[in-house]
Symmetry: C2
Subunit: 293 residues, 2 copies
């Protein structure tokens, strides 16, 4: 094996510790960062994920409240709940856990979260601000994947990068983030004629499709960085979208799954919580600076 | 010359005529589409452009009012004007003419236009909606360039496209629009190591940089489509970013400058005006459908 394995857990630990320091500073000014997680109905699918967020929050200096609403709640009631949380100064960020029941479209909820409390970075205006290179709160997984690339000794300006997968919340935001950093980006997907042609030309490859074994070693340029965002269950084991063994023979750096992008994503959520709190503090101060009301 | 020259004026004329029909239908329901153009200070630079918009509006069934404010107006006053227009049911779209004086940042104004009246498609949430493939009002030049590609006998799914230029309002939105249509898109810019390597691999090339002669015939794959979005003045003549003569020898289709993307862009602005009016009508009806208030 030639590839260096990227230590996602180590990167996440460093981020949590920096976060905790920042959160403490905010708390001293009356702005203790605090997240509310919303899940609806049977939570078995999301439970492990929520517990993991809760644990990461604790070590990141962020308070975390998990709320569960019954399956029978209506869309209108749930939007009302979100409006209440938007207006509550004790809540700095709102997480909407998926899956949701069929009668509750996730996009409607995402749009109902105030952009300044949108710690998941899912609101259309959060996404639009990424395009404008004016990054406030970005989608966590995409931001985490790019943060990992930044830890490598590669010059991002002019770097040829191929992103495989063009979902709105992962592939596309990764592409804009990288464009903003000066990379030359190609986005491939299920309609692309030859993914290998594009991936082989790239200095770094991101894959976020949800297909185990999609990327194999022969699809990589020797020495390239491979950031694997896939999370799949195969024979009771969690694996990414890359065939790890063959890719590790060719790549220069590779993220493991688990232990790669995953932990950095949760740490990024907490970083967004701290950033959201800071933005809200600035917004509050601007609003109250005018003593004439 | 082997390339077919794309008739931007003809495409625009067709769009204007369809628009006029739609605008008439809206007017019959009490929703005559109407645009307000805002310019500030000395308008010499924008005047030709505004007059052109006014003329296109007339043949598209859209009312058009050009307002000019003195150079001395403050940012706060201008935002107040925009809020007034947002609240005015007789105004369906707001155009902010550039250039603006230095004390008025264009982004602040763009954010102050209500997303439903953002006929230029510049609001962060308009841009974010493109990423979400939920196109309401898109940035006119980008939408126009993609509309032109759609008129060619090319299958967009799987098409390899290279976009040269990664501005927020042209290059990047073209990239998302094309991704949404199934193309495999590479975005190049001034930091790209070899633009030619990427452009030569593409079935269609979009260029929006503002450098005359940037794209030459040897940078194209034979038979490729070339959509030239550049507008430059050279020796008193208007030219695009492509070296027209050498590109026309190699390309299968090419847009002329002037007479290519330009007229389609202004027609797209009018299409956005009609669409914005339609969205506002739906919004109004939804708000007044609840008789309990």
């Amino acid at each position: 094996m030639r590839a260096a394995i990227i230590d996602g857990k180590g990167i996440a630990a460093q981020m949590r510790s920096e976060n905790a320091t920042e959160a403490r500073e905010l708390a001293e000014q009356g702005w203790q960062p605090r997240l509310v997680s919303i899940s609806v109905g049977d939570t078995a699918a999301a439970e492990l994920y929520v517990r993991n967020q809760q644990k990461t929050a604790e070590s990141s200096g962020v308070e975390f409240e998990a709320r569960n609403y019954p399956e029978t709640i209506s869309m209108e009631q749930l939007v009302g709940v979100l409006h209440g949380l938007n207006a509550d100064p004790r809540v700095n960020g709102i997480i909407i856990q998926r899956p949701l029941p069929a009668h509750i479209p996730v996009k409607t909820l995402q749009k109902a979260v105030h952009p300044l409390k949108d710690v998941e970075g899912m609101h259309p205006s959060s996404i639009g601000n990424i395009v404008y290179n004016d990054l406030a709160l970005g989608p966590c997984t995409a931001v985490a994947a790019v943060e990992i690339l930044k830890t490598l000794p590669l010059k991002l300006e002019g770097l040829d990068v191929t992103v495989i997968g063009h979902s709105e919340i992962v592939g596309k935001p990764i592409a804009f983030l990288l464009m903003g950093l000066g990379a030359t980006v190609t986005v491939c997907h299920h309609m692309t004629r030859s993914v290998a042609m594009h991936s082989r030309a790239a200095d770094a490859v991101f894959v976020a499709v949800g297909k185990p074994g999609l990327v194999t070693g022969d699809m990589l340029k020797p020495g390239a960085a491979l950031i694997d965002i896939g999370i799949n269950r195969v024979d009771g084991k969690t694996v990414g979208d890359a065939d790890f063994d063959s890719c590790a023979e060719v790549a220069g750096w590779i993220t493991p799954v688990p232990g790669g992008v995953g932990p950095v994503t949760v740490a990024t959520l907490m970083k967004n919580a701290v950033l959201a709190t800071r933005l809200q503090m600035a917004h509050y101060r601007a609003a109250f600076a005018n003593t004439e009301a």
